[in-house]
């Protein structure tokens, strides 16, 4: 990995944090605004492009037909993948999945899966024979920090807009024909925090991530539940965790409102 981060910037960020300030002028509890585009990838069953500050992520869903797992013959499945494209940052490299890619994919996946938003039984086509697998993959296009939240918003938008293809009598997908949409019972969203200079701040930029002592994400739903937590590097006090959970609910609510308005 080639390092291009300036030590100067990092120490400046720490210094500012101690004063309760941030390099881009945001408040500590202020997330960056985001914009959303939907459906630009016609080959996908759904697609979403999000820009969270300068961070840009594209998510898409492909629906595939497969045999159910023998343990759950009456259930389909979802799968979430992430790629931190070398396109998106000079420090990224093409190659096998990095630990960072695996972690962000799995945390976004858990936020959705564990919320039980999607009823896997409704993804069953024929018990023991055929089921749907919803493959959601998201890609970093420009990486300016907090791919967790960007991936989570893009992923949720993709699941919310995914169409289910029609099948012929042999359970083969008929191209460009659809029978309906995925249903979500609740709407989980991740909110991510870092600690810098002892201060908790939400939605870190790339440099803030570099400068941070600790990182934490929490997935919260519209019906007041938590569906995933993930501490990254560093440590937190219980009070800090509690504060981040509270803020997580608040920020996810705002983001969800905006998201739903875009999707209608």
């Amino acid at each position: 990995m080639r390092t291009t981060v300036l030590e100067y910037d990092l120490s400046k960020i720490v210094e500012l944090a101690r004063q309760g300030k941030r390099l881009d002028g945001r408040g500590l509890e202020e997330a960056r605004d985001f914009t959303l585009e939907l459906g630009m990838c016609k080959n996908a069953e759904s697609s979403a492009r999000i820009r969270l500050g300068e961070t840009e992520v594209i998510a898409g869903i492909k629906m595939g037909v497969d045999k159910p797992y023998p343990d759950n013959p009456d259930e389909g499945a979802i799968s979430c993948g992430a790629e931190l494209l070398a396109l998106a940052h000079s420090e990224y490299e093409a190659g096998p999945p990095s630990l960072d890619e695996i972690e962000v994919a799995r945390v976004v996946d858990r936020g959705i899966r564990e919320s039980k938003a999607i009823d896997f039984k409704k993804l069953c086509i024929t018990e023991g024979e055929a089921c749907w697998i919803a493959f959601m993959d998201f890609y970093a296009i420009n990486s300016s920090g907090n791919l967790f939240d960007a991936g989570s918003i893009a992923g949720l938008a993709a699941f919310l807009t995914a169409k289910i293809p029609k099948l012929d009598e042999n359970n083969k997908i008929i191209k460009n024909e659809y029978q309906g949409k995925l249903e979500l019972k609740r709407l989980p969203l991740l909110t991510t925090f870092v600690k810098i200079g002892g201060q908790i701040m939400v939605d870190p930029t790339y440099l803030e991530e570099k400068a941070s002592e600790a990182r934490f994400s929490v997935a919260t739903t519209d019906d007041g539940l938590m569906s995933a937590m993930q501490k990254g590097p560093g440590s937190f006090t219980l009070e800090e965790v509690n504060k981040m959970i509270d803020l997580g609910f608040k920020i996810a609510d705002e983001r969800r409102k905006k998201l739903l308005k875009e999707i209608k």
């Binding site: 080639r2 291009t4 981060v5 300036l6 630009m40 990838c41 016609k42 080959n43 996908a44 069953e45 697609s47 300068e54 840009e56 594209i58 898409g60 869903i61 492909k62 595939g64 993948g81 790629e83 494209l85 070398a86 396109l87 998106a88 940052h89 000079s90 093409a94 096998p96 493959f135 993959d137 890609y139 296009i141 420009n142 990486s143 300016s144 191209k175």
Partner: protein
Amino acid sequence: MSGKVKENMPDYKKDKKRVDGRKMDELRPLSIKVGVIPNADGSAYLEWGQNKVYAAVYGPREALPKHTQNPLKANIKVTYRMTTFSVPERKQPRPNRRDMEISKVLGEALDKAVFTEQFPNTEISVFVEVIDSNAGSRVACLTAASCALADAGIPMKDMVAATGVGKAFGELVVDLDKAEEDAPDAVDIPFGILPNTKEIVLLQMDGLLKKSEWAEIAKLGYAACEKIYEIQKKALTDKYQLSEVSQNQIVDKSTPKKVEKDSVKTKKESKEKAKKVKK
């Protein structure tokens, strides 16, 4: 490709227009925007019919591992990839042999466009990512990558303009879409040139073609590439309206490189701080 005989197969000689209504020598709608990826030294986003691709350039930066360094020139390394959802049937995430071959030929095409000898021992990394596709993604990527290189302020002999040309349903056509690529008589020729010198830098072929048809196809290809080139130049001008830096940089080989670089650099000063490889 599949050679399936379909009912109601189009007959372009009779129909006088193509499946999607285009004329034989008509391109699908093409738009390019440069400078779309703030982290990159240069970048472009391109939509061409259903094709949608990103291109990003990082470098010139030290070529690593060391043994890949060429003391005479920069290596142009292209990485062509497709998202899993960019094709009708989900693509496996790991790169396949087609991805690798396309990466190779695109790199070989761009190599002729860049004054690589000005940056010995470095690598110019070009990443192209297809997020939606419908035949022609490699020429879309090459066209976008050229703009991204220019956007990165890298001294170039010219940009590469590229398109598919070939044959479908009985006629010679430009810019085949998927329906045409699947025609029983389909011939698909990815074709890329340096418009200033007319040099051919990309040339491949799938399909079965009479020798006599090639001359006509090449003519169609040159004409189409000229149109593409205008769109490429406009994309750069749209970003750099105030000066003609990018234009000069591309077409005027006599300009001393130092000046070119500096003039571009003024646009990206904040970026430069973080850059590693300097001349």
